[in-house]
Structures are given as C-alpha cells and as structure tokens.
C-alpha cells in the first residue's frame, strides 16, 4: 500500500545518497517537482536514469547531485543541447559525470526486463554502431534459430519516480495521454514515488490510461503543477518560453547557480 505523504517526506524516506534513481516521463508528465525536491535535499553521488534527460536532469547534474547518467537522448526538446550536462561531461563541472549511453530501443527493452524481473532485455539493435564499444550491450544467439541479437542488462533502479494526473485516497494511480515508460519504471524499481496533480475520491476509468495499483507504489504525494514546465495532459500545456529561456540561463555557471538558488533552493517544497 502506498503511503500518502508530502513530497519532501517521500523523498527523505525513500532516496539515499548513492542510489540509482529514475525520474521518468517521455516528454510528458515529467516529474520536475520531485527533481527539485531531490536538489533541495542535497543528494550526492546519484546514478540518474532516464531515456530523455531534459531540463530537470540538467538542473540536478548542474547542482552536483549525480555521479553517473544512464540515458539515450539528453537534450532540451525542440531547443538544443543541455549546457549543464555538456559542462559536466566536457569539463567535469561541478563534478565529473560518467555516462552509460543506450539507444531508446535499448533503454525501453532494459526497463521491460527490469519490470519483468528478467536479467536482460533482447532486441535487434546497436549492431554496427560505435555504441557497442561504449555501453553495456552484448551479442547473444537465439537458442532456437541462431539469429544474433543484442542483449541489454535489465534496469533495476533503487527508486523510480513518476508524475501522474491522479491518485485516489488508497494510493491507486492513473495517468493518461502519452504514458511513455512510466509503468515499467515503477515496476522495475525497488522503491517508487508517484507525484500527482490531484488526489480524488474515485478514479474515473479512461481509455488508454495506465493504472498502477497502490500496492506496487511506496509513496504518493500530491504535487499540483508537478510536471511544470512540461505538460500534464488535461491539466496544462508545456511552457515553451521557459524551455527556450533555459538555454540562456543554463549556458553560464553563475547565472545557472543564481537561478537555482532563487527558484529551487529557496522555493517551498510542494
């Protein structure tokens, strides 16, 4: 059964320095509020996992929370590069960042394997690319046909964090619209936190929705606007101006640090 707690309590209880933490959201329902809470609580040496690290990962990396990033595409969607990610990789600022880099198909297969409690995922992929020499991937033969395939080790984060539209009072969660890899993230992770736009008396069934029963979740925290500046389908659209503005804010270390101080460190937790 999920405990309904504040976001600050959920993070304090379930995340530890050095953990592998996946905050997922494939361009929609990105758990920005939860990422900010991780920053405020000052975690260090995290291995951060996400298929599409964007602004909130740039912020966590720029604040020195991460030792390693497992990812497949790291950019500011529709805008360009992540300057804090680049600074960490290219110059080790504020701390060096180790990369484990996959393709989207590989990450997706690795999450499915984790959610299925299998040791690896299998796909046709990576072959012939320079990624093979730079990441955790192996060639295996199909035991039935002999076909050569790629194996990726299962993703098993210590903590999976997602944002959803709604939970009920028992902690059952429903998300809809573009649901990405969030179900797999929760099921692959040893512990999980779900932030929601609102807690309702009863979840209304919706076509195409993902429902996660309360007993696979550790903590549910109400965080209205918790995906901002990203989208929450049915609640708000992406604040595109912010994504564009982030390019300038994040280019310079001092501007970035001052912005984080004012907008994240001094902000009140949800």
């Amino acid at each position: 059964m999920a405990d309904t707690v504040t976001l600050a309590e959920a993070v304090r209880e379930l995340v530890h320095d050095g953990d592998t933490v996946a905050l997922e959201g494939f361009t929609h329902l990105i758990p920005n509020a939860a990422g900010h809470e991780l920053i405020r609580q000052g975690f260090r040496d995290l291995t951060l996992v996400r298929m599409t690290p964007d602004v909130v990962y740039d912020q966590m990396i720029g604040m020195g929370a991460a030792r390693k990033l497992v990812f497949s595409w790291g950019g500011n969607p529709g805008v360009g590069s992540l300057h804090r990610l680049r600074d960490a990789v290219e110059h080790g600022w504020p701390v060096p960042l180790e990369l484990e880099e996959h393709s989207h198909a590989g990450m997706a297969a690795a999450y499915v394997a984790g959610a299925s409690n299998l040791p690896f995922g299998v796909l046709r992929g990576y072959s012939g690319t320079d990624l093979v020499a730079r990441t955790r991937v192996a060639t295996i033969a199909c035991p039935f046909t002999g076909e050569e395939l790629s194996a990726v080790p299962a993703l098993r984060p210590d903590v999976g964090i997602i944002h959803a539209q709604q939970a009920d009072r028992k902690g059952n969660v429903q998300l809809w619209g573009i649901t990405g890899v969030q179900k797999e993230t929760v099921l692959a992770s040893a512990r999980s936190i779900v932030t929601v736009e609102e807690i309702v008396d009863e979840l209304e069934p919706r076509a195409g929705a993902v429902v996660l029963p309360t007993w696979v979740i550790d903590a549910v925290a109400e965080a209205p606007g918790g995906a901002r500046p990203s989208y929450a389908h049915g609640y708000y659209d992406r604040d595109n101006e912010f994504y564009t503005a982030w390019d300038a804010i994040s280019r310079d270390r001092d501007t970035f640090t001052a912005w984080m101080q004012e907008h994240v460190l001094e902000a009140v937790a949800a």
């Binding site: 361009t27 590069s81 012939g128 573009i178 990203s230 659209d237």
Partner: protein
C-alpha cells in the same frame, strides 16, 4: 506555375528543405517523425499530396493528425488526434523493430559519404569537444524502417570524410535533403542528384568534406509552388501561436 518570379523567389532554405522532403513521401506511407524540419515536412505532405500519410511520433502516438506543429513529441494534441497511443516500449518493439514503419526521418551533426550518421559526440568520446544529445531512436530507426530520409544543412563540418562517432548506419538511407540540394546513394556512395534553385554544383562541392560524387544528369529542384508555400506557412504560423 502561376506565381510571379518575385513570389517564387521569396522562400527560405528551410522551406525548400521541408518541401523537397515532403515531396518524397508517398500517400499512405507510415512515417516516423521527429520534431523540427521532419515534422514540418511530414505535416506538409499530409496536407498536400499525401493525405493518408500516417504520422508516428516516437513518444507513442500512431496516426497523429496535429492541427498545429507540435512543440515537442510530448504534445497532448498528438495523443488526442492519434489513431492509437502506445507505450514507448511497445513503440520500439512492436511497431519499429517489427518493421511496420516505411519511412524514418533522421538528422545528425555529421554524415559520411555512406550515409552513416553521428549524433553522439564531436571529438573523442571519452573527452569530447562537444557532447551532443545522443542517438535516441536513431540506431534502430536506421536499421528497422524501409527508407531513411536524412535532413541536414550542408557544411564541411557536417559532411565529413570520417565521422567522430558512428551513431547509426547508412545502409537504408535513400535520400539526403540539404539546404543546397538533394543527394541519393548511387553505387554505395551519396551522390548529388539535384541542386536547389540558385545553387551551383560547385557550391555543394565546397560545402562537402569529401570529394563529392555528382550525377551526370544532375538537375535543379522544382521551387516550392504557391500551394506548397501557403500550406507550409499556415502550418508554421499556427505553430508559433
């Protein structure tokens, strides 16, 4: 064409690229689309000669029919207008890997003469000069779709003799649309088959970091028609609202 010469002259190289790529899509093609010029091209095709083109965005929306150009692949309108919305693992396994996509658009920071692409790093991987966003869907798009369309501005920094990193393979690249012209593979090597209006073959050679093969019958791209430009600009204006 009914437009006057002054009217046809006023289009940007981005518009030429989008129009040229859109024309390559056949009606009914199932195409995997990213944000930016590929999204413009695919949406333009759907509103002009290819109304039954199926737009698939890797975020999980199959058959999306956006009324405005999406700001990112997470745009809610893609889900609202789609024939089906699937999870990301399903998208890559059941739809892409299984071979259900005809055309995939790719961009990159670097391309070589075989159509191999780099979207990972400039410089050495371990100590990069520029860390790029990374491959994302590209490695498997490049080997799973029937036809890869590449859209890329042509400069000697992008069109290189040797890639700094091979992110995806060029085996299925059928066309490369640049701001200067169109390249297609001939005898295993990208060959200039058309220049855009006002561009000389030597301009394209000068913007290519290898000794560029040029087709004997190299032609000139048909400039955007009034209808194509109007449709394209209506799309873009809506996108900026």
């Amino acid at each position: 064409m009914t437009a006057t010469s002054s009217e046809i002259a006023t289009y940007t190289s981005d518009e030429m690229m989008a129009v040229e790529a859109a024309r390559r899509l056949a009606d009914g093609n199932v195409c995997f689309v990213g944000i930016g010029l590929p999204s413009v091209a695919a949406n333009l095709a759907r509103r002009t000669h290819a109304p039954n083109c199926v737009l698939v965005y890797e975020s999980g929306t199959i058959g999306a029919k956006p009324t405005k150009l999406p700001l990112s692949i997470g745009d809610g309108e893609l889900a609202e207008t789609a024939d089906a919305v699937v999870s990301v693992p399903e998208m890559f396994a059941y739809w892409l890997q299984a071979g259900r996509i005809d055309v995939g658009f790719l961009g990159a920071a670097q391309i070589d003469r075989h159509g191999n692409l780099n979207s990972t790093v400039i410089g050495d991987y371990a100590a990069p000069k520029v860390r790029l966003p990374g491959g994302g869907g590209a490695p498997e798009i490049a080997t799973s779709v029937t036809d890869v369309f590449v859209m890329l501005r042509q400069t000697t920094r992008a069109f290189v003799e040797r890639l700094d990193f091979k992110t995806s393979l060029g085996d299925r690249v059928r066309v490369v649309v640049t701001d200067l012209g169109t390249l297609e593979p001939r005898d295993g090597e990208l060959t200039l088959v058309r220049v855009h209006p006002g561009v000389a073959v030597d301009d394209v050679r000068a913007a290519t970091g290898w000794s560029l093969a040029v087709a004997d019958d190299v032609g000139v791209t048909e400039p955007p028609t009034e209808f194509e430009l109007e449709t394209l600009r209506a799309l873009e204006t809506k996108g900026r609202e």
